[in-house]
């Protein structure tokens, strides 16, 4: 079972950065990602309009621990100061571990 353990990284941030973020994720070694549209509230206030400037995305990346750490570091350095963003990591068991 242990060899099947990976990290699930969930990033919630502004819809406006989707393109940029996706490019960075791939550069940092993510083999895939999944995005859903979201709304919410955090330290930067309510983000929930019909309107792109105020809507969120929820990005999930399943990856190994090293990649998760390097993505986390990168986002902290390049995104956190300027964008509404939160990030959290959980342990998940996957089926074809070679994929991630």
């Amino acid at each position: 079972m242990n060899e099947n353990l990976r990290k699930l990284l969930t990033i919630i941030t502004e819809a406006a950065v989707e393109k940029l973020l996706v490019k960075d994720l791939e550069k940092l070694g993510a083999h895939g990602y999944t995005i859903t549209d979201a709304r919410g509230k955090g330290s930067r206030g309510v983000r929930s309009s019909a309107w792109e400037a105020s809507s969120n995305i929820r990005v999930e990346v399943v990856c190994d621990e090293v990649t998760a750490a390097s993505i986390t570091r990168h986002l902290q350095e390049h995104y956190y100061a300027n964008f509404a963003m939160i990030l959290f990591t959980a342990d998940v068991a996957v089926v074809r571990p070679a994929k991630f």
Binding site: V17, L20, S49, A50, W51, A53, S55, N82
Partner: protein, 311 residues
């Protein structure tokens, strides 16, 4: 007085928003409605392009490119030194006010049509031209000519954003198809225009109400700037219009374009290119103050200005 119903939709949106009603347009509907407006405005311009020699418009295009590039230089020092805003914020807001708002243009054009005042057919083309230079100026103001400017990314964001693609796409379609070719799609893009504009303004009202709420945090300077800047820009725009020999309607529309502040193309570009600028600030000004001011008060004002300037 006779109020255009589209303005009433805007007021309904503001009222519903301030009263915290549950009313909101689904994102998909807002996008559909914007798409139809942008394509329609573009096509209207393109149809007229088909009728005119392009060269005759080159001086006009140059004039509005210049106008759009210079307005940020008026706004920036005020924001930076009177408003004491950080450099990135001042640059970003300056870009918003140098660029234009398609919604304001649509309301202005509809108002002129209602008054039976005609205007130069190439205005949508000038609108497209004026949308872009301020963005580049704003980015340079914020970041200088630094090495990490990712210029290709900026250019992509600016020229391939939804709004510009639909406006220019509509322009080309109208140009190639010409007035007779476009007849078959008029029922959707032209006959429904005012109704679609009404729905658009309903949502703009809801968005504006949110921005008005945010104004409190930023104090009185932003409100004064949000009214003063468009008044000043309108004068510049009107003068350029007179200088270009435009008609009464054309001068008015150029004043409206100059006075309007972007809230679609520029925020998207700034978010990516000048991320340290706080988007809440520029949107509070452009949507919370300037858009309603222009739509409710400015347009007739700029028209009298045009008349006074002898247009």
């Amino acid at each position: 007085m006779n109020i255009d119903p589209v303005i009433l939709f805007f007021l309904l949106g503001i009222a519903a928003g301030l009263l915290r009603s549950e009313l909101r347009l689904p994102a998909a509907v807002y996008e559909l409605v914007s798409m139809i407006l942008l394509l329609s405005i573009g096509m209207k311009g393109g149809i007229e392009l088909a009728r005119q020699p392009l060269e005759a418009m080159l001086p006009q295009i140059l004039a509005v490119l210049l106008l759009g590039s210079l307005l940020p230089f008026v706004a920036f020092p005020v924001l930076r030194f009177v408003g004491r805003l950080p450099r990135a914020d001042a640059a970003s807001i300056a870009a918003h006010y140098g660029s234009v708002s398609v919604g304001t243009y649509a309301v202005g054009a509809a108002w002129l049509a209602d008054q039976g005042i005609s205007f130069e057919a190439q205005m949508p083309l000038l609108l497209v031209m004026m949308e872009i230079p301020a963005i580049l100026i704003g980015i340079l103001m914020a970041r200088g000519f630094r090495s990490d400017l990712r210029l290709s990314l900026v250019a992509h964001e600016v020229f391939l954003g939804k709004g510009v693609v639909l406006l220019i796409g509509g322009l080309l379609i109208g140009w190639i198809a010409g007035p007779s070719g476009i007849v078959s799609i008029e029922p959707l893009f032209f006959d429904l225009f005012k109704g679609v504009l009404a729905l658009f303004l309903l949502e703009m009202g809801l968005i504006t109400a949110v921005q008005i709420g945010g104004l409190r945090h930023y104090g009185v300077f932003l409100v004064v700037f949000g009214i003063g800047m468009p008044l000043l820009s309108a004068v510049c725009g009107a003068l350029v219009g007179v200088w270009l020999g435009f008609s009464e309607g054309g001068v008015t529309l150029l004043a409206i374009l100059a006075a309007s502040a972007s809230y679609i193309a520029v925020p998207a570009a700034m978010r990516v290119s000048v991320p340290e600028a706080n988007p809440a600030l520029s949107l509070a000004a452009s949507l919370g103050v300037t858009f309603p001011f222009n739509v409710l008060i400015g347009i007739p004002l700029y028209h009298s200005l045009a008349i006074r300037l002898g247009a």
